[in-house]
Amino acid sequence: MTAPRNLRLKLLDAAPLLLLAAVLLAFGAVSPRFLAPANLLQILVQASSLGIVAVGMTLVLLTGGVDLSAGSLMYLSAGVSGWLLLRGFPLPLALAAALATGVIAGLANGLLVSRVRLMPFVVTLATLYLWRGVGLNLTQTRAMNLPEGILRLAAARLAGVPAPVWILAGVLAGAHVVLTRTQFGRQIYAAGNDAAGARRAGVPVARILVAAYAASGLCAALSGLVAVAQLGAVSPTFGSQREFAAIAAAVLGGASLFGGRGTVFPGTLIGAVLIQAIENGLVVTGADPYLFPLITAAVIFAAVFLDSARRRNLENLHRRKVRGPAVQETSSP
């Protein structure tokens, strides 16, 4: 391998961080208030809901699939908890029911993908409508204003850091340990790289798929709860299109849409913070609201561009056959 190519790979690996740094500096230059510690913490708080659903999305992307139903599931789980709360059920029960909803819905996605062998895109596109439909029925398409108690959850602080950030940190730590330090985690990467090969190697691919979609469901539900706790209400459009923001966050952070590549930490975390920083920066600098969709388009384009650039570089790497000096070096113990 030649040195420039090595450098290019390193640059591509560092691209999410460089992009984040550039965004922070750019908005900071326009509005000094943007870089104030309070606002930076605010960005983290705002990013926590997106970050949590993006972690689940990353797990699914790693298997080579996608979970388009995540946004609808945020809505359904939040709807379930709201429905229970408004009928006087205790808060812990409402929260547990919301999380259970997420897991069950995720399991359904996973079973359809792994056992019935339907395409993830199609399965989760269908359940995108299904979960929202069930949610709309449950809420009678009315916005629900939730009791004070749930708002207090989001406002709670531990060591000066708001609860949503702690929850995000917990989800990230859990997913990171599972992905990098457990056999199951490494098998996710194998299954995502080549499902048939993984099956031949004795990897329980079906179980991995089910687990990944269930985890994504759980993350979507948790993300929904965090967002609801921040907003205090569930509107009929709640969570709508969040799956795309989650995909963009994961891919910006280095996850491949073709499976087998990506990290939740630092990758997806950086992606989520990056997207939220842009949104926050546009608000803080008082940018024209009509600019927002254009910026979103640019972000998604950047994400896909990075993904394909990484893939091209890897392919070139695979093609390399002549042994240059660089390889001799790695050959020595």
Partner: protein
């Protein structure tokens, strides 16, 4: 005790018998060499042994107990491990992760079964030492050469305390050096008392390694006995069921007034080629020998315009073509048979005719070309080439270029993974092309076939041409010495 006995194993696929009452035994510390043409049933037999498919009838006994694995992991648990011809590695994972993918050493931390990275690294280190690969266990597999990956695959098979190790064409992507290492590993396995089944088209390797040889033909055992009783000729005639005549066709010496067709001058690309120059004459078969990674394939790719080349000239009948696209070079009469027919050469799900039409869709020519290269299949139009044997696939890959009547044909490993009968046919096609004045540049890892077919052989090493030998003076050892 006999570790492995197969008793009258039969298997049919959609009522076509693939194996008929095949029986064999392998003793501890014995290497059983298995040879046979493609389609003789070797892979099916090995897949039954490895638990990938179940036999229709017959039984297996492993170390005194009945052996009927339901899946590869059960076979592994009984101590049967498999080195597949096709690598089953995950390039996005490290060497050590590939070795332990379904059996990491673990330790519990807070009740979680985490990977014990240190033990994994140590165990991986030992396995890599056993296959003499001086690489870090944490190196990502995507950084390894094809040969290094093959050795990692071997290390994977050594991982479990294997009682029976099956090697299926393990040397196809190994350099001579790496092959020698593999043979050392097999000898150590033997010494440890493991039973080894070694399948290969490289008959010389089979004879060298095996204590006993078994030849499969049309799903039956055609011959079996101590290796000493087998000459290569006897192996070949047992494989094809008839004496094969001459493997290499008679070649007439090149006329002294043959016109230069393709000239390379000072081709240089940093890290790939260094001042490569030669002339290929009309009607000549020019061989390129050299180890894998010596720049042979890269040279062909540059000549064909697939890879960039910083300096140098390529002349086709005197006209420079180095700035032209591959498409335009094809139009001017260049053809290129890639070393990887599965990925680069053919549309595997499509039929023979569709594949033959890939280069030039001249529909009237397709069936005559199919007949000319001797493709054997059930239906030229409908049978996907995926279902054809390697030899027939290669004939299709060759044939698609013949539709366009090339003047210069670049062949990269034209007989890789092909049985001896199909080989002879491909050699005849090559010789016949040369006879009509086509210039042929043939890259091969098998010095045997270069000396059998070529008028001249160039030897490459580290991107340079280090020697050129003409026909009467061919000397295997000399070629190898220059190549190493």
């Amino acid at each position: 005790m006999t570790p492995l006995r197969l008793d009258r194993i039969s298997k049919s696929f959609s009522e076509v018998p693939v194996l008929r009452e095949v029986s064999l035994t392998v003793a501890p510390g014995e290497v059983l060499g298995i040879a046979g043409e493609n389609g003789a049933g070797k892979s099916t037999l090995m897949n039954i042994l490895g638990g990938v498919i179940a036999p229709d009838s017959g039984g297996m006994v492993l170390e005194g107990r009945a052996y009927a694995p339901r899946d590869p992991s059960e076979a592994g648990a009984r101590g049967v491990s498999f080195v597949h011809q096709e690598l089953n590695l995950f390039p996005n994972l490290t060497i050590s992760e590939n070795l332990f993918l379904t059996g990491f050493p673990r330790r519990r931390v807070l009740g979680l079964p985490l990977i014990d990275r240190r033990s994994a690294a140590q165990a991986a280190r030992r396995l890599l030492d056993a296959v003499e690969l001086p690489l870090s266990p944490d190196a990502p597999v995507e950084r390894l050469s094809q040969g290094e990956r093959q050795l990692v695959e071997v290390a994977k098979a050594l991982h479990r305390d294997a009682r029976v190790v099956i090697f299926d064409e393990p040397t196809t992507s190994l350099t001579a050096n790496e092959s020698a290492r593999l043979f050392g590993i097999i000898e150590r396995l033997q010494a440890r008392g493991a039973a080894v089944l070694y399948i290969s088209h490289a008959l010389a390797d089979v004879r060298r390694l095996a204590g006993r040889i078994l030849i499969l033909r049309d799903g039956e055992v055609a011959a079996t006995g101590p290796a000493a009783e087998f000459t290569e000729e006897r192996m070949i005639s047992s494989m094809v069921g008839r004496p094969i005549g001459q493997l290499y066709p008679e070649r007439r010496p090149l006329p002294s007034d043959a016109a230069p067709l393709l000239e390379a001058r000072g081709l240089t690309h940093p890290g790939v080629l260094e001042d490569v120059g030669f002339t290929l004459y009309s009607g000549e078969v020019l061989g390129i020998a050299g180890l894998m990674g010596s720049g042979r394939s890269e040279c062909a790719r540059i000549l064909f315009g697939l890879d960039p080349c910083e300096r140098g000239e390529i002349l086709l009948s005197g006209a420079p073509i180095q700035h032209l696209s591959p498409r335009e070079r094809i139009r001017r009469g260049l053809a290129f048979l890639t070393e990887n027919r599965r990925d680069d050469g053919l549309l595997m799900p499509a039929g023979v005719l569709a594949n033959l039409a890939l280069v030039e869709p001249r529909s009237s020519e397709l069936e005559p070309v199919a007949a000319r290269v001797g493709v054997r299949c059930a239906n030229l139009d409908r049978q996907p080439v995926r279902q054809l044997s390697g030899g027939n696939q290669q004939k299709v890959a060759l044939g698609k270029w013949l539709v366009s009547t090339p003047r210069v044909f670049l062949l990269d490993e034209p007989t890789r993974g092909i049985d001896v009968g199909a080989r002879a046919e491909i050699y005849r096609i090559i010789a016949a092309l040369a006879e009509t004045g086509v210039g042929i540049l043939m890259i091969s890892s098998e010095i045997e076939e270069l000396t059998g077919l070529c008028d001249r052989i160039l030897v490459m090493r580290r991107g340079e041409i280090r020697g050129s030998i003409a026909r009467p003076d061919f000397d295997r050892e000399q070629i190898l010495r220059v190549a190493l």
